[in-house]
């Protein structure tokens, strides 16, 4: 695998409506985050946000309404490579959709190249300059 490239297995939400990846937050909480290029920012459900906050894995961001999770890693990728630091919103709508979190455009824009390889069901992310 080229330097600066992440290869992450993709899982499907049982609804058949979304795909996503499992992410570890602070090496203490693992959750499924939907890949959502239609969302400008990444988000967490209220229940997960509350759980992370109680464990000091989610801190308030200087920007109102945003929060900073502890370091993210790709849970099902070999070596659990780190993922970009994100500021996330808390989105009550996610509870109704049975989604714990979503990765929005703020996540994807941190990479130079984003490839969803369907035949292998994996996401390939290449950092700029790699």
């Amino acid at each position: 695998m080229p330097a600066g490239e992440l290869t992450v297995p993709v899982s499907t939400h049982p609804s058949g409506l979304w795909v996503g990846i499992y992410v570890d937050i602070g090496a203490r909480v693992r959750l499924f985050m939907v890949l959502d290029t239609g969302s400008p920012v990444s988000a967490l459900s209220p229940s997960i946000a509350q759980h992370l906050h109680s464990r000091k894995l989610l801190q308030a961001d200087p920007a109102p309404g945003y929060f900073r999770p502890a370091p993210l890693t790709a849970a099902q990728a070999p070596g659990h490579p780190p993922l970009p630091d994100l500021a996330v919103r808390v989105l009550p709508r996610l509870t109704r959709l049975r989604i714990d979190g979503l990765l929005g455009l703020d996540f994807f824009r941190r990479f130079d190249r984003v490839c969803f390889q369907l035949s292998a069901m994996r996401l390939e992310l290449t950092h700029a300059g790699a």
Partner: protein
């Protein structure tokens, strides 16, 4: 399944919590339990748990990783249709061990083959429209 995974399944751990009248799909048979007071935990990988508990949420205490595949495995602390019940179980788990590594799993959220993926997307596309807008 690797030897590491097989040996992991033989480990003992904390008590399981299951909804009344339910047992885990691959729970250890009663006759193999060492003592009536020390039930064996259900150990499985994340994908196995996701497949086993479709329609429910599951809370896993991540214990380790399979040396061969790198896939995480752990003990299912609770599987339940109610997310609120899972959140309560998570709080209890953290109270017992503040450093516990927990995985929140929505049953059915798992890695699939391309054929399975396409079939699931077709099913989702034929279903009712879901308003997921901001």
């Amino acid at each position: 399944m690797s030897k590491a995974h097989q040996s992991a399944r033989k480990r003992t751990g904390a008590l399981l919590e299951h909804p009344a009248g339910q047992t885990a799909p691959n729970a250890v048979a009663p006759e193999t339990i060492d003592s009536p007071e020390t039930p064996q935990p259900t150990l499985m990988t994340l994908d196995e748990a996701a497949a086993a508990y479709e329609g429910e949420w599951a809370l896993m205490r991540v214990i380790g990783e399979d040396e061969a595949t790198g896939e995480a495995y752990g003990e299912i602390l609770l599987h339940h249709p109610s997310r609120g019940a899972i959140d309560k179980a998570a709080r209890r788990a953290v109270k017992r061990d503040p450093g516990v590594h927990l995985a929140f799993i929505l049953g059915g959220t798992q890695r699939r083959t391309l054929e399975e993926f396409n079939a699931l997307l077709d099913k989702g596309a034929r279903g009712p429209y879901v308003n997921a807008r901001w």
